[in-house]
């Protein structure tokens, strides 16, 4: 009789260890996906920081009366380069996005600038980089959501607490256009 009980306990213990191992591995996989997604955002943001000085130089030659706008873009870029932490970076990047938008709006008034091949290439690259930031962020946030849910629900939360998996921050945006429905005027 004690033999059977012993075997039963042993079998249960083996199963418990196996379960802990598999959920630990699952959590590590999720965390790696998350870190990879974050790295992708980083790559795109760096690319944007590299493109901005080129853009400013190109615009400078044509739009001589827009010093203020150009200075704002340069300033926003410098702040964004030096920002640290998820929340702070998100905010700095939002400001940079805003200033870039106003720069492209200003460019509309300069036909020579708009015909410049260099400017057009930069515009395409920046627009696309902007999109890439948005899509990487979207993927990152979905990954964070999934990861946070996983470490909070029972029973994986036991394993998560045991090995010190902590909640991650979202990369939030304050883009008014994304929250409100588009307005249509006739």
């Amino acid at each position: 009789m004690p033999g059977i009980a012993l075997i039963l306990v042993l079998v249960l213990a083996v199963f418990a260890v196996l379960w802990i191992a598999s959920s630990y591995n699952g959590l590590v996989r999720l965390r790696n996906a998350l870190q990879n997604a974050w790295a992708q955002i980083d790559v795109q943001l760096k690319r944007r920081h590299d493109l901005v000085p080129n853009l400013v130089e190109t615009v400078k030659g044509y739009a001589t009366h827009e010093r203020e706008t150009l200075e704002k873009v340069t300033q926003a870029r410098n702040i964004a380069v030096n920002a640290k932490g998820v929340a702070e970076r998100a905010e700095a990047e939002n400001i940079l996005t805003g200033t870039l938008k106003s720069l492209f709006a200003v460019a509309e008034a300069y036909p020579d600038l708009k015909a410049n091949v260099n400017f057009l290439n930069l515009q395409e690259e920046l627009t696309s980089t902007e999109n890439k930031v948005a899509f990487s962020r979207q993927y990152y946030n979905d990954s964070v959501m999934n990861y946070n849910t996983r470490i909070e629900v029972f029973p994986t939360n036991v394993v998560a607490n045991l090995f010190g998996f902590t909640r991650r921050e979202f990369f939030e945006v304050q883009d008014p256009g994304q929250r409100e429905a588009p307005k249509v005027t006739f």
Binding site: A33, A37, Q40, Q44, N121, E124, E125, S128, N131, K132, F135, S136, Q138, Y139, N141, D142, S143, M145, N146, T149, R150, G177, Q178, A181, P182
Partner: protein, 453 residues
């Protein structure tokens, strides 16, 4: 769930493949028993061999398609930055760990397809007709659908299933034919004993039934699976782009176009975003590879958000069954639809044409009259006459600088007009009449080339 395959999808695939494998093996066994009693095991071996041969033939043909450039040359970033960027954006949105190769196929019919699923052999192909018809949002939807196929490993499973289907059809054909012509061996076996004969007759009946119904069942299973995967790729596209209307509008334009891709065959047709051979069908039959496009558009248009949950809700309003499965839906985050991007057609007709020429290695040779000649890569002469003004233009390929690593690259100018020449890396560099600098940097390999007057 984003980085894992949708569970219901995986389950369906496993059911499909094992079901087909079972049909194939049973057919092989029965075939063996019918042709020569007691040879069922041999039949199993024959079935396996048939499958292996077909699989091998498929793999070699697929490899030759990929390696020997049935679609021309792979599109480089510089050939068309916008198209390349679009694919890269969707790669990031889907979390696909690699960048697929891009091919632009010169065909006026708008369509797109994806092949592969592994890092080094994945392809997203779009036709030139698609590029100048769709705006950025629409093209994004189409590419997201194709990337969705890649991420869901659809092509791998569907080709595996198609090979299985082919083997089943072939085997049943062999059995039916051998029954018609090979009656002799059966008669010999019947004369051996009476009791064995009766059992033999039952096996014969089952074998005939199976040989007729087996391929049919396998086919139905295959097409049902194919349709589900199309819906799933649509759901993924909505999720990646956060903009279901983009794909819906693209599907409308694709079905609205009258032209069919020139290179369509029965084997490649199921891969397209809209099956060119079945595009006109309003209702999907049991043998359709794709669901009716109207239904796909209807589902996409009626989505309340962009998440998988929203797609499932819209899907079950139109159809009665479920698609994604509860376990995957539970962890799917809610996602709102974004607003439309303000951008017209991705490329003009002219840009698409230029990209196609560039991708296929044509050399753009600008004439002083303003016409740009496109010289094919294998053109032999040293000069060519402009077809508009008749000027003789020297071909720059003859002046290609020698490809010696570390050596100074040099180009000597012939005259003061427009000139173009090739860098050692293959990129064509053009010099305008206004160019006066002593050197120029190649946009592709970044090497400096000295320009002498």
């Amino acid at each position: 769930m984003i980085w894992e395959q949708i569970a219901a999808n995986r389950r369906r695939s496993v059911v499909l493949i094992t079901g087909m494998a079972l049909v194939l093996l049973v057919l092989g066994y029965l075939g063996g028993e019918v042709i020569q009693p007691g040879a069922g095991i041999l039949g199993l071996g024959v079935a396996g061999l048939l499958w292996a041969i077909q699989m091998g033939a498929y793999l070699t043909s697929a490899r030759s398609i990929l390696l020997h450039g049935a679609f021309g040359r792979e599109l480089q970033r510089d050939d068309n930055p916008r198209l390349y960027n679009l694919v890269e954006e969707m790669k990031l949105a889907s979390g696909l760990p690699f960048m697929p190769k891009i091919f632009l196929i010169d065909d006026p019919a708008p369509n797109a397809f994806a092949i592969g699923g592994k890092p080094n052999n994945s392809i997203v192909a779009v036709t030139s007709g698609l590029l100048h018809r769709l705006n950025r949002d629409e093209l994004q939807g189409v590419i997201a659908h194709e990337i969705g196929h890649l991420r869901n490993q659809d092509v791998k499973f569907m080709t595996l299933a198609a090979v299985m289907l082919g083997s089943i059809a072939l085997l049943s054909e062999i059995i039916l034919r051998s029954l018609r012509f090979g009656g002799r061996s059966r008669e010999r076996s019947r004369s051996r004993g009476n009791g064995g004969g009766q059992a033999q007759l039952v096996i014969l009946a089952i074998a005939i039934l199976f040989a007729i119904l087996g391929p049919l069942m396998a086919q139905l299973l295959y097409f049902a699976c194919s349709r589900k995967r199309e819906f799933l790729a649509d759901a993924c596209a909505a999720q990646f782009t956060r903009y279901p209307s983009g794909l819906a509008a693209a599907l409308e334009k694709i079905t609205g176009a009258a032209a069919k891709p020139e290179f369509t065959t029965k084997t490649i047709a199921p891969l397209f975003i809209v099956n060119p051979l079945q595009a006109a069908q309003a209702v999907s039959g049991l043998f359709s590879t794709h669901p009716p496009t109207q239904e796909r558009i209807g589902i996409l248009r009626s989505m309340g958000g962009a998440s998988l949950v929203d797609y499932e809700a819209a899907y079950s309003r139109v159809r009665t069954d479920g698609l994604i499965g509860a376990s995957s839906l539970r962890s799917a985050p809610a996602q709102a639809i974004r607003s439309a991007a303000v951008e017209g057609p991705v490329l003009t007709r002219q840009e698409v044409r230029d990209t196609v020429y560039r991708q296929h290695g044509y050399l753009p040779l600008p004439c002083s009259c303003g016409l740009e000649l496109q010289v094919p890569e294998n053109y032999q002469g040293s000069q060519i006459r402009c077809i508009r003004c008749g000027n003789a233009l020297a071909l720059p390929a003859a002046q290609t600088p020698p490809a010696i690593p570390g050596a100074k690259l040099q180009y000597r100018r012939n005259h003061t007009g427009w000139e173009s020449f090739r860098c050692t890396c293959g990129r064509t560099i053009q010099i305008s009449p206004a160019f006066s600098a002593p050197r120029i940097r190649c946009t592709n390999c970044r090497s400096q080339i000295e320009v002498k007057a």
